[in-house]
Symmetry: C2
Amino acid sequence: MTKKNNPDELEPTKVEIMEATYHALGKHGYDSLTIQDIADEFNHSRTLLYYHYDGRDELLVDFLGYVLYEFLENLPDEKKSARAELETLVETLLPATLDEQVYRVQLAMFELRVNGPHDRDAREQYLRVDNELRDLLEDIFTRGLEAGEFAEIDPAVEAELFLSLLTGTRTRRLTVYDPDESIHMLRDAITTQIEWIAAN
Amino acid sequence: MTKKNNPDELEPTKVEIMEATYHALGKHGYDSLTIQDIADEFNHSRTLLYYHYDGRDELLVDFLGYVLYEFLENLPDEKKSARAELETLVETLLPATLDEQVYRVQLAMFELRVNGPHDRDAREQYLRVDNELRDLLEDIFTRGLEAGEFAEIDPAVEAELFLSLLTGTRTRRLTVYDPDESIHMLRDAITTQIEWIAAN
């Protein structure tokens, strides 16, 4: 069950479990990950881990919520231009290259996404990620339009477009590119699109 | 090993195996699919199946090549406008709704994609799918540009953009939408993009 994923509401133990999960995924990847691997990265007893989670999959769904929250929390505040915010969002989701650990964690989260059609909790958590990112994009496009930074776009439509574009670029990078391979061609396409909607 | 995936070069038995695989995937999905499930859909002996394939994963990689070939073969010829061709490609890859069997086959192919980082043959086959689709898109954009149908675009960059956009829309549909749920909002975003690059 996914309940609270906001670390402000999470007890410190849960935050430690999430950090242990991050390190375990970076070492072992998704397929072979066991709850014991997570326990090995956790500074407290395995019993305490099982007190919070019945199994690996339930824990990973919460981990996805934690990653989403951390991602949203760490975005720069709204003092910058909408265009700069959009560029930061792209850079955060799609750095030109990935180190091995970050690649493994991103791939693990993608494998959890693919589990969505077979696991209702995973699917609902990913639907939430989808909705949060679309709202964030729509907000950026609305502010950019009001400030005259972007040409005449429909913020809701442009948000759908960018969410599909970012999702597809991550899908392609994770499944057909090598972990350390640069995705500059894929990134250039996104940059061109941003330039296109920029009025100036 | 993936060798020849062109059905023109495939013996009739291989084509029958591919058709049996399609039906088996539509019934059982990817995870639980066994080579016996495929044999059950195949009108000849299981021995003949094993004569051609050592295992399920090898067969599925060839199946992906077969689907790609069938897809490219069945696209309309080039007499239509570039824009109409692009719209047909979007409609073929992303019909507004999917019936259950088509959904299962698309999901199975997506699960094979996610297997890419762990299976070199699957990865190379998906890289080939990526490259073929990008070439096709670049060709459509080049012709549309020359015919004055599209505004000043860089066909190579626009092809990367559309490939990520189509891949991301499929990823979102398959993982967070219900099989029979309409993706008209996601499709509207693509339509808007096509209208935007159309000069007239």
